[in-house]
Amino acid sequence: MGGVTMPSGKKPKLAVWKFASCDGCQLTLLDCEDELLALAEAVEIAYFPEASRAVVKGPYDISLVEGSITTPHDAERIHAVRRMSKCLVTIGACATAGGIQALRNFKDVKEFVSVVYATPAYIEVLAKSTPIADHVFVDYELRGCPISKVQLIELLGALLCGRKPNIPTYSVCIECKRRGIVCLTVAKDMPCLGPVTQAGCGAVCPGLDRGCYGCFGPKETPNTNSMSTIWATLGVSRADLTRAFRGFNAYAEPFRRESTAHEQK
């Protein structure tokens, strides 16, 4: 793990890889309007099909990996990406937790395939959608659906100068409180996943008067059981508790466990 300190004069090569995903996270990179020019000066964008057809051959200094592993082919390809990458960063809920498509992990994928596709035999798919870290070593991860532009710039800035990135693993509550946002659960009886969800979004939803959906996934030491007890006192049914924990990070272990605990057979 660490930075990508370069011999002087050489720009680090950046690659952006896509697996099973919606492209929203890599688009965050293009969304960095204010920083994009500076970034293009600081790194060589060597492989980024979403932005340019030009391809510079590997190896790459920084690889941003979006998406989860859902096919046998991708399960192979991610190893090739790892071999070509000095520092591999997973970006977004798909890459870090399996994404919304991991909802199929709770069911039989073969059944879906037979219902959805005219010729199921053409479909080669794994039984489960899994995060990148289940397959290869990951240096850093950025959570979120989509990731936060601020965190992406922070991470790239850190890698470029070889310092520790500031990617906290504590709760969204801390971000709410620093911003002076009034707690929605306490003041408005609104269910909010903030106390079990990792910070990094800047408390976007609570700041707009919506409870946290947990798109940054479980925080460090999440007490999902106590969270469910609180939601239940707010009148949330067990079926809805299962749904709440089965969002973009359904397959992240603490959320998976909690959603399953409330599942009605």
Binding site: A38, L39, A42, G157, T169, P195
Partner: protein, 386 residues
């Protein structure tokens, strides 16, 4: 004691409700930035005020563990609520502060610290518990060889308009902590608001020269004995109306004896380690420092942010966090507030404001947790005590 001093330099006077706005206007004319209670999005928070017209007149709230609900009062009291989710530390010990910035130049880099304060501050409606909280932070951040420059700059010359508590809230326990309901120090002016069927007035006392100068600029007259009695009576009643109680006898020793009490496991089952309690607490002062650089590598900054002993990173040293379990983190926090703080700074770290109780999403109540430990202390542990 606070730096604002304890001497009362004027007699106790009465300001009628109709004249009250002029007190705030006088502060504004004296170039103070007015900071005080304001109704924002379902709660009474502290924000900049344009004048007395923005105070939450006629509002109150119900507070219980994990519950805060605004409600209308039957009267138009200006200060008829207690404390909300914000505390004054947000102005004096900001949640985010840039400590310094550096920009690369031909020879090295230029260092700069952004200016900390543009305008002197007037805190309006400070409750007695919060006067104590400010005084505690004066001790922690404003004393000794390593004063915090941010605190020192923001705290300097702060004008404090205190308001005594005549109606404590459901999670208040200042009477137990000896911090209220009457302001005893640390203010420039202290008010007691009296709302009756026919009258609405403030009994005001100046605590400093500055305070009395501001009173001079506000229409007032000497308080009559019956008005003083009325205010005293309200405050005496308030002390018996606290929503919560805490027995502080031998509290430090009780906690030191009960490090292994099973109650810590019980509370850890409920605690989310979300850190909300520490964020809302008016005396919790911990911060973390983040060093940042931009992608050009030409700009760097050191930024200080509120941190909490409930995070793993807080106790992370080589090899891992010291307080990995939530049990250890909750115990550490509570023991600091009610025991180790005494050894460290000479007072409790808790002023009985009740914020941590109200704003804990799980409704965890420090007075209940301590009560449970006191009442279920094992015989072995009690024997150690005697």
């Amino acid at each position: 004691m606070s730096v604002t001093g304890a001497n009362r330099v004027s007699a106790t006077v009465v300001i009628e409700r109709a004249a009250f706005p002029q007190l705030l206007d006088a502060l504004k004319t004296a170039r103070y930035k007015l900071l005080g209670p304001k109704l924002v999005n379902g709660a009474i928070v502290y924000e900049e005020l344009a004048g007395a017209g923005e105070l939450p007149a006629g509002w109150a709230e119900d507070q219980m563990p994990g519950v805060y609900k605004l409600k209308r009062r039957i009267d138009e009291a200006l200060f008829g609520y207690t404390v909300g989710p914000h505390s004054w530390k947000k102005f004096l010990h900001p949640a985010v502060a840039v400590l310094w910035q550096a920009t690369k130049n031909a020879k090295g880099f230029d260092l700069a610290a952004p200016p900390i304060r543009a305008q002197k501050l007037a805190l309006l409606g400070v409750r007695p518990c919060d006067l104590h909280a400010i005084s505690i932070l004066d001790t922690v951040l404003g004393r000794g060889p390593y004063k915090d420059p941010v605190w020192a700059a923001l705290r300097k010359g702060v004008f404090v308009l205190a308001v005594n508590c005549v109606e404590p809230g459901g999670t208040c326990f200042c009477a137990s902590m000896n911090t209220g309901p009457r302001a005893s120090f640390g203010f420039d002016i202290a008010l007691t608001e009296v709302v009756e069927a026919e009258r609405h007035f403030f009994v005001a006392t100046a605590g400093t020269e500055r305070g009395s100068a501001m009173l001079e600029k506000t229409p007032h007259r000497p308080a009559r004995p019956d008005e003083l009695d009325r205010a005293d009576q309200l405050l005496a009643n308030a002390a018996s109306k606290m929503g919560r109680k805490l027995d502080t006898t031998g509290l430090k020793e009780l906690l030191y004896r009960n490090h292994e009490h099973p109650r810590w496991d019980n509370v850890a089952g409920r605690c989310l380690s979300c850190a909300s309690c520490t964020m809302v607490c008016p005396t919790c002062f911990c911060t973390t420092v983040e060093d940042t650089t931009d992608v050009t590598g030409r700009h760097a900054a050191r930024v200080r942010k509120w941190d909490s002993c409930f995070t793993l990173a807080f106790s992370f040293i080589h090899g891992g966090p010291i307080r990995a379990s939530v049990r250890a983190r909750y115990r550490h926090w509570l023991t600091h507030k009610f025991a180790t703080w005494l050894d460290q700074f000479g007072t409790f770290g808790c002023v009985g404001c009740g914020r941590c109780i109200t704003w804990c999403p799980a409704g965890i109540d420090v007075t209940e947790e301590i009560g449970a430990i006191r009442h279920t202390e094992s015989a072995k542990s009690r024997k150690e005590a005697s």
